[in-house]
Symmetry: none
Subunit: 218 residues, 4 copies
DNA sequence: TATGAATGAGCCTTCATTCAT
DNA sequence: CATGAATGAAGGCTCATTCAT
């Protein structure tokens, strides 16, 4: 639940104060994620992050040495944790590759996309040029593993004869692009666009279906 | 129509200085677009915008009452000019709808995507929640007309029997999402990601091909 | 009587912990003196003082109500203990006044100058205008007794015919100034000046000799 | 008079505003010197420096990139300018070396000691360990040239037979120490010590006399 | 007593905005 | 119209001080 899997604390030795101390970093990271995603990095004041986490300005600096450090920690703590799980799910998956692709997209939406966590994508995109090293981190820890995972899925489909052979590298971007798009949509456009309804679940199903009919043997 | 190019004005009785005077606002808008896209709104200093436009800080405020006003003007001035042309091209287009879709995507890349203009998309997305009214613009001036244009194209395909009947509203997003994705890619990730090669022209062709095979009659 | 040395207490019924408790204030004063002299009052953090004394930040405030209070206590506790001894030594001194002056200067260097205690002089000087009342202490407790002691020595020399009559008040400053100078030298310049060698013992001997014999040919 | 010897500005082209701009740095340096000497570096707020110079906080940062930069500029601008003059005066001096020494000390007092500039010595001493590079600068630009100048004077006295041969290196410190002492006295002790009168001019004369003639009966 | 997590006033620094020239 | 020196509100960060444990 927290970053550092913490042993049960209910026993005698741990006081309320101490329990707060251990929870603080995550509370601050959550608050920061919310505000960074909502207003952008520069437009968010550390004081507001602290307030949202229920602490004072000074407390934040007990746990993060600077606003930028907080930014990196936010990105780090919300990424990359899912890939081990997903890679394992991929290895153990029993159904067809078609089902697998649908499952992958839908579970992304449920676990990430429909969550504040997808704001990270928007955040990294928005602030990329101001924090090149963060982008490096994002590329290595998120983009590349994600790309590889999708590529493996597509290759599985080709290998077992479901799909005809095609350029999987480019095809991955056809999947990734809607993930990026829905991240933007959720955190940027949709809150402001009263019209323009879009049901992500249906959209994802249709999108994958359309692509796959193009990839299937005729 | 590009950022730096200006149509020859020597024929009229306009002196060089006066020409500069008239060009000022546009030069400032171009400079602002460049920097806002590159660094974000908050991280861009008006002084740098002025410097890039070749004028002093004070001059900028002769034309735009505030930094926020400049931001909105940047968005406004870079929107919506293309749709009349595209709508006309659509009406006059002679080939198949498949060809038409490829043409639409490729010409978007050539005229917008591969240009500073696509930075608008990134910009609006990045700063959306701080400027809700700007998103309103964008929705009315860009997203909605774009959606309608693609929808008309898809409907044309259905009407003339090329495509089977399908949910065109959602299908449009399968096209729009890659446009959004490539805008982000060009202005955020690709400048920082040394690896992860992506050829937009090939990607767009493959993407449309895959989708259409899904949309075609089997 | 030196800063760190503490007389053996084991004989009494005082336990180790209690001994620590009684030693706390002095340990804090020693730590504060060290850091105040080294970095100045403002640049010294109370947390560092506490850490150097081996206690927590909170403990420091159990003994001193504020950083300023700590500062004043540092000055107070390091002053004035030497003059009774020196006055007695003066009264009992058997040799010539020339010998006496040399002895006074050399023993100042050994007992004070070459010790953290001379940092007090630097400290008072550096922070004087921010703590005028501290300077009052210092004047009454150190400068005035010191001046009187030197004046008595010089007067002794005049009285017993070793010296010709001269303005002893001003002459005292010729002695005091090198004491002040060596205090500064030890705690400010010499740690930073790799070149500029100065041997205080030799310098003090030469200085006193010069004052007494002069540089001219007789 | 100012740092960058400025051409006469009274002619037409220079407006009031521009004249201020050229005067600002020196005004700020003067204000900073005053406050740094009076309260120390850390205890001085840049806002107070700006206020004393008659400008706003922001203006100060137009001319100095940081408080530390201002500190270094203060030290730099008030030092080292006198040595060329003094070296020349030494070369052209006609009288005896005894007269020369008296002249050197008295003119130091008039031109530096009795001025805010002597506060620099106190300032460097107080903040030495926090700004080691400043001390390096001070040693090279001030202490060393000063030492050499005095040494040349003493050597002149030995060479022309006025003085007997003695250790000039150490003797220089007998002169330098009173310079340091009077700097401290003026800026630290004397403002707080209502008693303890000290007339620097008389003290300097007596000090030099004593060093040269000694206190003993001949 | 001792601890150290928490606080928040205060300071350095930035930068959008103004205005005298 | 254009300039750029000047402003001052705002925000990141520090650190003396408090207080629950």
């Amino acid at each position: 639940m927290s970053i550092t899997a913490s042993p049960p604390l209910e026993h005698a030795g741990i006081h309320k104060r101490e329990r707060r101390k251990q929870a603080r970093p995550q509370e601050l990271l959550d608050a920061a994620l919310t505000l960074f995603v909502e207003k952008g990095f520069a437009a968010t004041k550390v004081e507001d992050v602290a307030a949202l986490a229920g602490v004072s300005k000074g407390t934040l600096f007990l746990y993060f040495s600077s606003k930028e450090d907080l930014f990196k920690a936010v990105i780090r703590s919300n990424l990359a944790d899912h890939f081990p799980v997903w890679n394992q799910e991929f290895d153990e998956f029993q159904g067809t590759t078609v089902e697998m692709l649908h499952y992958a997209m839908q579970s992304w939406w449920e676990r990430i996309g429909n969550t504040t966590a997808s704001g990270i994508t928007k955040l990294v995109t928005s602030e990329a040029s101001n924090f090149p090293d963060v982008v490096q981190f994002y590329e290595v820890e998120v983009m590349r593993p994600g790309h590889e995972l999708f590529k493996k899925i597509l290759q599985r489909g080709i290998d077992n004869g479901e799909f005809r052979a095609f350029d999987t590298d480019n095809a991955v971007y056809s999947l990734v692009s809607v993930i990026a798009f829905l991240s933007m949509w959720k955190h940027s456009l949709s809150p402001c666009c009263t019209s323009s309804m879009l049901d992500p679940v249906i959209f994802l199903r249709n999108h994958v279906n359309a692509l796959m009919h193009g990839w299937l043997h005729t």
